[in-house]
Symmetry: C2
Amino acid sequence: MKSSQQRLDDIIAKLRLNKFRITPQRLAILKVFLNSTEHPSVERVYKQVRADFPTTSLATVYKTVHLLKEIGEILEIGFADGRNRYDGLKPYPHPHLICMKCKAIIDPKLSNLDHLTSEVEQASGYQILSHQLEFFGICPACQKK
Amino acid sequence: MKSSQQRLDDIIAKLRLNKFRITPQRLAILKVFLNSTEHPSVERVYKQVRADFPTTSLATVYKTVHLLKEIGEILEIGFADGRNRYDGLKPYPHPHLICMKCKAIIDPKLSNLDHLTSEVEQASGYQILSHQLEFFGICPACQKK
DNA sequence: TCTTTACTAAGAACAATTATCCTTGAACTG
DNA sequence: CAGTTCAAGGATAATTGTTCTTAGTAAAGA
């Protein structure tokens, strides 16, 4: 497991390489992602960043999220109602387990899905580039209520 | 495989049973779903229904979609950008294969996923109620271009 | 028939996201 | 270390997909 600091440095290098500027806002947003295990929403990131940079605008957060998504350093977890969430720790396709009550999102351990992907690829003729797998349920804490 | 007519009758019976009225608009919307293999969007359904009922409002389509979702007769396929699509032919969780270029959605053949679900359920303590699995790629037709 | 209730249409309202427009500042140049 | 330049930020308007509100209509029950 790469350290968070190492990862941050790598991303900064990648941004520089692609001629994107390293601004304090971008750094602040990036750090929120690299230190969150709870798959934050844009709103959540915005609030967190505002704590340190009170003048940051929501548009900047959206732009940065878009940028980070673009260079493949965060993963978007899409929802039907538009309340998207993001994963900055494992920015590659992997399953998520979502509590329908408290909206908590965790990463379940699960044997890998590569064989499924190639099964589908073979049968369909599609060239598969990515996938998304979500389980919806009730977490242990919410079950007790 | 149940016939489309049989399925329509069943849904009508279910609506009646739950004291929902059978209106011409609802029938028209329902028929669009039962005759579409292409996983239509709300907009698509709206256009189709307008052909027969030119005064129907978009809100009615949304409401009916919501209702049908509620009683479990259509499946919502959620997208991060809000362009949701629906499946009225197989209203239970099953994988989808989506072309990132032309947005076509098909149902790939795939061995079942129940073991995955129970694997996750065991490991996490969550009570899993549903899941969603999508593969993103390029369809054979779009690959040629 | 009268009454009640559910439903529809239309447009307003909403929330998440994106675009616009002007200003600022990161990073390259000399 | 300035000076310059263009990408990025801030504020806010616009857009998009969806839901709510209101008033009118039609169906079912008394």
